[in-house]
């Protein structure tokens, strides 16, 4: 892999993060010209949490603390510097909790669920899509295409409600919500890990059900043109075993566009998962975001938006770096 490609790709990642931070900074200021801090303190005062005369002083103190009394470009620079240092400030609704701390607690849940569900959905879907085209595979796989297509069209959080009702409520096999039972202490122990897996099965299932159909359809399209290629016919004429032709000749080639699409799909997958987490009250970034929306906790909303975009940007970038390992034809050398 050439150094030029790596520098360009990292540059692109930094641009995405900068754009995300800027959106975070400008949207609340452009949209309404409102002052979330004053609003929040006013709300607290109205609910009897604060005395009215203290509010003006607090607004002043907050504005000085966050530099809101300075001109806009100074504020913007400060904001970018703080974002770069991942200093996301304090939660407005749960002061003195730090936004960075809250996100650090939620992040492993979200990334764990996202990566496991994506890997299962992607592998299963790709294999099923390939088998749907392979003449020697059982006919069952050909008939599965239409049901899978239907599932792929339905957002995972709606599938989530259905699996909660059937597998959770009616059959009572899986817990309905949460990441672990109340009363257990999180820790790196076998019983806790098993409990997390038990709780994560239904949200993962909701995501996988949709993803399998999506990846199966994509792989099927690619396989249709791959099995028509001359090298497949040659391999058959040479008397290679069917399994060898399937995996080494057909799947290996049809798989490449599929893997490229996987990088692009991460952003889409995390969008769906945000709502899935809310439906399952799963202790990840989606639920954190939902609670912050309900409490008008703008610092948490901004923090979650920024960190999610950063995390997905990072995942996408790492995947881009792995293409040459899979496809010897890409070396990123000729791009220079």
């Amino acid at each position: 892999m050439s150094r030029g490609f790596i520098i360009r790709r990292v540059g692109l990642f930094l641009i995405v993060v900068w754009a995300a931070a800027s959106v975070n900074f400008f949207i609340p200021r452009l949209a309404t010209g409102r002052d979330p801090i004053r609003e929040k303190l006013g709300l607290l005062a109205a609910s009897g949490g604060l005395r009215q005369e203290g509010v003006e002083a607090m607004v002043k103190a907050y504005q000085a603390k966050f530099g809101l009394d300075k001109p806009l470009h100074t504020q913007y620079l400060n904001f970018l510097l703080n974002s770069a240092r991942l200093d996301l400030g304090y939660s407005l609704a749960n002061y003195p909790a730090r936004v960075g701390r809250m996100i650090a607690n939620a992040m492993p849940w979200t990334m764990g669920l996202l990566l496991v569900a994506t890997i299962i959905g992607f592998s299963l879907g790709t294999l099923m899509g390939a088998l749907a085209v392979w003449a020697r595979a059982p006919a069952l796989f050909r008939h599965l295409v239409f049901p899978l297509m239907t599932l792929s069209a339905i957002p995972p959080y709606l599938l989530g409600l259905v699996v909660i009702y059937t597998l959770g409520l009616q059959l009572n096999i899986f817990p309905l919500s949460g990441g672990y039972s109340p009363g257990t202490f999180p820790g790196f122990r076998l019983d806790f890990i098993l409990e997390v897996i038990h709780h994560s099965t239904l949200p993962a299932l909701a995501i996988v059900l949709q993803a399998v159909g999506f990846w199966a359809l994509g792989m099927r399209g690619m396989m249709v043109s791959t099995v028509g290629e001359d090298y497949i016919a040659l391999a058959e004429a040479n008397g290679l075993r069917s399994k060898t032709i399937f995996f080494r000749y057909a799947v290996r080639n049809a798989f490449l566009p599929q893997y490229t699409a996987l990088g692009l799909s991460m952003a889409f997958a995390v969008s769906g998962q945000v709502v899935v987490e809310v439906v399952f009250a799963y202790p990840g970034m989606g639920t954190l975001l939902f609670r912050a929306i309900q409490a008008s906790d703008y610092t948490v909303i901004n923090g979650v938006v920024l960190i999610t975009i950063m995390a997905i940007g990072l995942v996408t970038m790492v995947m881009d770096f792995t293409y040459p390992l899979l496809d010897p034809r890409i070396s990123h050398q000729r791009l220079d």
Binding site: I27, T32, M149, L158, L176, R220, V224, V275, S296, Y298
Partner: protein
Amino acid sequence: MDKLSSVFTYLKDSPMLTAGLGLMAAILLFCVAGPLFVDTDAAQPLSVTPRLSPSAEYPFGTDDAGRNLLAVMVLGVPLTLRIGLLAGSVGLGVGILLGFGSGYIGGKVDTLIRGTVDTLLTVPSLVVLISIASTIREEISVEIMALVVASLAWMWPTRTIRAQVLSLRERAYVQMAKLNGMSSLEIIWKELFPNLLPYLAANFAGAVSGAVLATIGLEALGLGPQNEPTVGMTIYWAISFSALIRGMWWWWAIPIAFLAMLFVSLILIAAGLDELANPKQRMAV
């Protein structure tokens, strides 16, 4: 008459397109005929007895706040469709402008547009939409919702249209038109555009589906038009009031059934049109 019969030949060739259009027709019929049979005022809270399971009088049951869910669906499905169509049109429109511009003009314009699109596609759009919608929550109406969703609905159409224009640009008939002295705009309008129509239609179905998806996502988080009985807001209320655990299955299952029909219909239409536009993709398996 000739045109009509050729449409039918197309439909016979593509069972997916037929099924998709049939499903869409059923949904539209429900929207159009619904108000004739049901009093849509009952979509407001406190208008009927709350918490009734489906019966002859209320086929879809009623919710906690005393809305007749049949009336809610009769009003809500067209609202959701309207947001989808508006946002999808804006998304496709911007996609056509940028896609044709990027693909046909090429050079620096192309590099800039393609770079922007590829960058934005790696950003989880729902998360950005949430940040926008949560700052203007009080002011959200159906039209503003559509605009918010449209702001991130143009990248995919731009990308796919650009790719198509790039491949069409080199065809012999385009070169011919160039030699005949046609201007770029004329070539785009008279040569490229008609040839891309099925693609654009497929893209439109995809854009509408994406827009509805984003809308429902925002609404399920409570960030939709607060006082409109849209399908997504119904799901939000059902989740908020724990309809799931309380056994009020009709409250969430019926909106989900409508959305499933809508999404399946749109994906079938898009896939069917794609097949028509690109016969190589036709899967004779």
